[in-house]
């Protein structure tokens, strides 16, 4: 009200005018934020603490305390397992995806024959590997059978990582590390298909590093290896944080837990339990995000 009267009263200054327009520009988002995000978020929190019964008049919501949370964690048969699986998958995959996409970005940044073709192929997963196609693909029988068929790629892959594993074990590498690495080799399609956007972000970051830095280091006799660790890596380190967060967010849409939460809500119509599960999931993610960004941001190099 105050601003409205002020609006008519006097000529506004340049800064005030801009601030007013800023509010106008942000207004559509703000409305959406309130109605399609903030209020639903609060009601979801409320639902998670109550029992909800649908009847003729609509919904009856009665406060139930921590029952839903207790049910999700102690009674529900699959929630604990799915949650741990989702989190373990995330913890295993995120470092792999980030390292792999950084490596590929460095590779795709070098000059070689057919670079633009290679780049467009590597960004193809951004388009293909999302949503429903990914889910259906994993259930494709033909692909599974073909991979099992003798002589085709699947078996060869398994052999390759098997040999590799033997070699590394004989060389005295820790077994956990060996299993982690060979697992990554076997899941290469999954990793490649999830790192499209991350490669893009890293590539964009590498391109902003000024070439003078590399020239100067070359003058001083640095090898390519040293240049990577002393220049490229510190310069893109803020993006490691960005990519890590992006990878975590990206995993929301494609895990079993999301399906479980949806089924509880829309098949069993247990809205309270479903909301409680969703909140536990959200809190778990938030904790992971906080811890990882705390550790990574301490190592990150900023210009300022």
């Amino acid at each position: 009200m105050k601003s409205l009267t002020k609006l008519g009263m006097k000529q506004r200054t340049y800064a005030e005018q801009k601030a007013l327009w800023g509010f106008v520009y942000v207004l559509p988002w703000l409305l959406g934020f309130i109605f399609f995000f903030f209020i639903p978020l609060l009601s979801s929190l409320r639902y998670s603490f109550s029992t909800i019964k649908a009847n003729a008049e609509g919904l009856t919501i009665t406060f139930a305390g921590w029952t839903n949370y207790l049910e999700a964690l102690t009674v529900d048969t699959s929630f604990n397992r799915t949650l741990t699986e989702a989190i373990v998958n995330m913890v295993v995959n995120v470092p792999l995806i980030v390292i792999f996409s950084l490596f590929l970005a460095v590779l795709l940044n070098q000059k070689f024959f057919g670079r633009s073709v290679a780049r467009s192929i590597f960004f193809l997963p951004v388009i293909l590997a999302s949503g429903i196609i990914m889910t259906l693909e994993s259930t494709s029988l033909i692909q599974a059978v073909n991979e099992q068929n003798a002589g085709s790629g699947g078996v060869m892959n398994a052999f390759a990582s098997f040999e590799l594993a033997k070699m590394m074990l004989q060389a005295g590498v820790n077994e956990t590390i060996v299993l982690y690495l060979t697992g990554a080799v076997d899941r290469i399609y999954q990793i490649v298909s999830q790192s499209g956007v991350q490669i893009l972000i890293f590539l964009a970051g590498i391109q902003t590093i000024s070439p003078q830095l590399y020239e100067a280091s070359k003058m001083e006799g640095a090898t390519g290896y040293e240049a990577f660790w002393k220049i490229t890596f510190p310069m893109v380190s803020p993006l490691i944080l960005v990519n890590m967060i992006y990878t975590i967010i990206d995993s929301f849409s494609r895990n079993a837990l999301t399906d479980l939460i949806r089924d509880t809500g829309f098949v069993k119509f247990n809205f309270g339990l479903s909301s409680a599960m969703a909140w536990i999931y959200f809190l778990a993610i938030a904790v992971i995000l906080l811890i990882s960004s705390y550790f990574v941001s301490r190592k990150v190099f900023y210009h300022e």
Partner: protein, 315 residues
């Protein structure tokens, strides 16, 4: 002299690296393209070739029957039109609303704008499942703060229409919209302030500056966000299967494809259907669903690859 240079350690190292790089890139490209090639090869195969042990990649009997079946069962042309309308509408609305919000956050600072931007980050971080149920219930009895019951007498059911998508994208809260706002904000922050100030001095208002000066400069960001938003909307099964239960859109059609296949090809008896053949038609269906995207990507990818480097996601 040339021979000694050829034999030097340096050049050997360079050649070795080139070779390793080539192998890696070719191999990984194959890994990425493998499913698509596989699907193409399956789609043009005849049923008899499916069990033939000598056919691996190139079929002996070519046929278009799989395509016919998939097109018929998916109601392909209608689905294509529906999906295209839905994706195009949400894409345009999302791009407009996110560009506005991004510009507002980047340059037109007002009291509390940083707090609001923290809200944008929050929308990126909260999993969509958390707020799914309240939104669903809200849209089922949509009241718009009690306004609609006053006019129409009762709340409107917006489910099974395009309204949920239109409303959320109009207000920059659709699928992954927070990310687009972030991209636009970073990009607008990267454009020098002087350009904008010159426009103000020449008498342009905020609106004119935005449409005439800032937007033409933001083409890379616009291409990136529109491509992302189009593709993700096209493939999205999370919101589409929740909001649109009976409408024919690509992702709902795809997710019910295995079921429909069983009905249409085996007369409703799932146990009688040949699972291998059904999988074949399903692969064809997936191929048909991503075909438009691949065609679009072929045309846009050049701009896309160029533009992402200047988008300023980085900055």
């Amino acid at each position: 002299m040339p021979i000694s240079r050829l034999l030097s350690l340096e050049s050997w190292k360079r050649w070795l690296w080139t070779f390793i790089r080539l192998t890696l890139i070719a191999g990984l490209s194959f890994v990425i393209l493998y499913p698509i090639l596989q699907k193409i090869s399956t789609a043009i195969k005849d049923k008899t070739d499916l069990y033939s042990p000598i056919v691996v990649w190139i079929p002996k009997h070519y046929t278009l029957e799989n395509f016919m079946n998939a097109i018929r069962i998916m109601d392909y042309w209608e689905t294509l039109l529906n999906t295209f309308t839905l994706s195009a509408t949400t894409t345009i609305l999302t791009a407009v609303s996110c560009a506005l919000a991004g510009y507002g956050f980047a340059r037109l600072k007002f009291k509390g704008s940083n707090l609001f931007f923290a809200g944008v980050i929050l929308t990126i971080l909260v999993p969509p499942t958390t707020i799914l149920i309240p939104i669903y219930l809200n849209l089922k009895d949509f009241t718009l703060m009690g306004l609609i019951p006053l006019i129409a007498g009762k709340p409107v059911n917006l489910l099974n229409s395009y309204w949920p998508f239109i409303l959320t994208s109009l207000t920059a809260n659709s699928l992954k919209a927070g990310l687009y706002i972030f991209i636009f904000r970073q990009f607008f922050r990267g454009i020098p302030k002087e350009v904008e100030e010159a426009a103000y001095i020449d008498g342009a208002g905020v609106g004119t500056t935005f449409t005439r000066i800032m937007l033409p400069n933001a083409v890379p960001a616009i291409i990136t966000t529109t491509l992302f938003s189009f593709v993700w909307q096209w493939n999205d099964s999370f919101f589409t299967t929740t909001y649109l239960t009976s409408s024919k859109v690509m992702s709902t059609q795809l997710s019910s494809l295995p079921y429909n296949l069983a009905i249409q090809l085996a007369g409703g008896d799932t146990s009688k259907a040949d699972p291998f053949y059904m999988s074949m038609v399903q692969d064809t269906g997936i191929l048909l669903a991503i075909l438009p995207l691949i065609i679009i990507y072929l045309f846009v990818q050049r701009y896309f690859v160029e533009s992402i480097e200047r988008t300023g996601i980085v900055g």
